[in-house]
Amino acid sequence: MSAVAMPSERDAVPGAAEPILVVDRIVKRFDTPDGTLTAVDDVSLSIKPGEFFGVIGPSGCGKSTLFNVIGGLLDGYDGAVRVGGETVRGPHPAIGMIFQEESTFPWRSVIDNVAFPLEIAGMPKAERYARAGHFVSLVGLNGFERRFPAELSGGMRQRVSMARTLAAEPKIMLMDEPFASLDEQTRLLLGDKVLQIQQELKQTTLLITHNITEAVQLSDRIMVMTYRPGKVKRIVDIDLPRPRTSEIVSSEAFGRYVAQIWNDLREEATRGLLDDESRKLRAGGPS
């Protein structure tokens, strides 16, 4: 499987300006009982190799829809997604996805979960366990290899999903609110882990979140999305030094970025809330 790329292949383009991932004027509409809903409206992005790109927006603005479009899981949209110049039709082997919902396989142990993509690629047992073991320790789960997801905490399960996607060694990582269900402290520390892994593997990463701190802590650039339809409101460059750790959260420059993005977001989030409430009223009370 080509998703298991050799390391030399991965960092072959140091500092190249050619974008690795291009999202070109994506429009995705859903047919709902209340008429057509435009979830993503005319979103364009271009992400350079090795870049950490954050997408932030209020709940329901179309982030997961965009994620699924880029990952090739949704079709019937306008526009195009290109990976290394090649138009994506269906899941692309260069793209790895970490989902918003709990996505470990409950019938597989931690090591078998992580070894899953290697098993699919037909790697011999001993080799794939060795490889998977490496990614298990990368996300800090040594000693839990033989446990099953039901025996782990939510954060640990999320790390298992992350290790499983990492094990396929995709050039591009898409993450949809991977830490949404975690407390702030764990989230910050896992954020460090993600950055460390991303720098180590020189992966291009697209992180979807609705957490401003997390977005600023991790990203080189952040796209702020509007609420309904989900458009690009602004793309902000985050000029904070690398390597970063969660300590950066207390710096003054960090605070300025957070304030700026919160300003953009507040308006959208408010619109989202009002919209939800009015819909509930129309539907005759809370659902």
Binding site: A3, G90, M97, F105, W107, F116
Partner: protein, 257 residues
């Protein structure tokens, strides 16, 4: 069964508790019959049932009958599992088929299929095939329905994980859908095997052919109440064996528990 059991053997404690309460219930029945709260011509005292065992074993060839009924149960279990799971998979794969037949299958599950035995007698004759086929027919619907339910209930995100790793359709089925549906499939198997066993013994009883069902019929007609209950105990042993086998199978297929 003597001497106190040390608590260090706690692994066996649930089993001992189970057997203990079973023995307790038996003693209670014995007592109730003894004080004539229960009519001994309807419910024989358990001691009489125990006393009937040697007679039933030696005179009524209960062991060969047991083997016959167990064999029929096993054959029906294997058939019903294979065809039930395959049927569920088919209905899952072909939505039109599902829409067309799902209600029927559910209706069949609720129908008193045992009443079809005359038809089966005509088709297969008065032999073990009729009995196995009756068991098979009775157990099929719940397994089909539960298999379908398990497959259709697979969480969307797990399917998406498979798609994101570019799984082929057959990998998608064997690596994700099937293991995700297994717990539900086993619920269906338990139900289906119960239905099958009830019908096997019932038809043996009705057509007076073969194994334990026929023996129960004969003993009941001779008003050998204690013997009848002793024979029923052997039916229970058959069902215990079938269930132990499914449990084995489940543990083998589903180590996560």
């Amino acid at each position: 069964m003597s001497g106190p059991i040390p608590f260090s053997k706690r692994r066996y404690f649930p089993a001992i508790l189970g057997l203990g309460s079973c023995a307790g219930a038996v003693l209670l029945v014995e007592l109730l019959v003894y004080v004539e709260l229960l009519n001994r011509f309807i419910i024989p005292p358990p001691s009489d049932v125990v006393a009937a065992f040697p007679r039933v074993i030696l005179e009524e060839h209960v062991l060969s009958r047991f083997m016959l009924t167990a064999g029929e149960a096993l054959a029906a279990s294997v058939l019903v599992t294979i065809f039930g799971v395959a049927g569920g998979v088919l209905l899952y794969q072909f939505n039109l088929l599902r829409l067309a037949t799902e209600t029927w299958v559910a209706a069949i599950a609720a129908a008193p299929l045992v009443l079809m035995y005359p038809l089966y007698l005509v088709i297969f004759g008065r032999n073990a095939t009729t009995i196995v086929m009756m068991g098979f027919t009775a157990g099929l619907a719940p397994i089909i329905l539960k298999t379908l339910e398990g497959l259709a209930g697979t969480r969307r995100v797990l399917i998406n994980v498979g798609r994101s790793f570019n799984l082929t359709p057959s990998q998608q089925f064997w690596k994700i859908l099937f293991p995700a549906a297994l717990p539900t499939i086993f619920v269906g198997m338990r139900l289906g095997l119960i239905f099958a066993l009830i019908n096997i013994v019932g038809v043996e009883y009705l057509i007076n052919f073969g194994g334990l069902g026929q023996l129960i019929n004969e003993l009941a007609e001779r008003f050998d109440i204690a013997g009848t209950y002793a024979a029923i105990c052997f039916v229970i042993v058959v069902s215990i064996i079938v269930f132990m086998l499914t449990e084995r199978l489940e543990r083998w297929l589903r180590p996560a528990g």
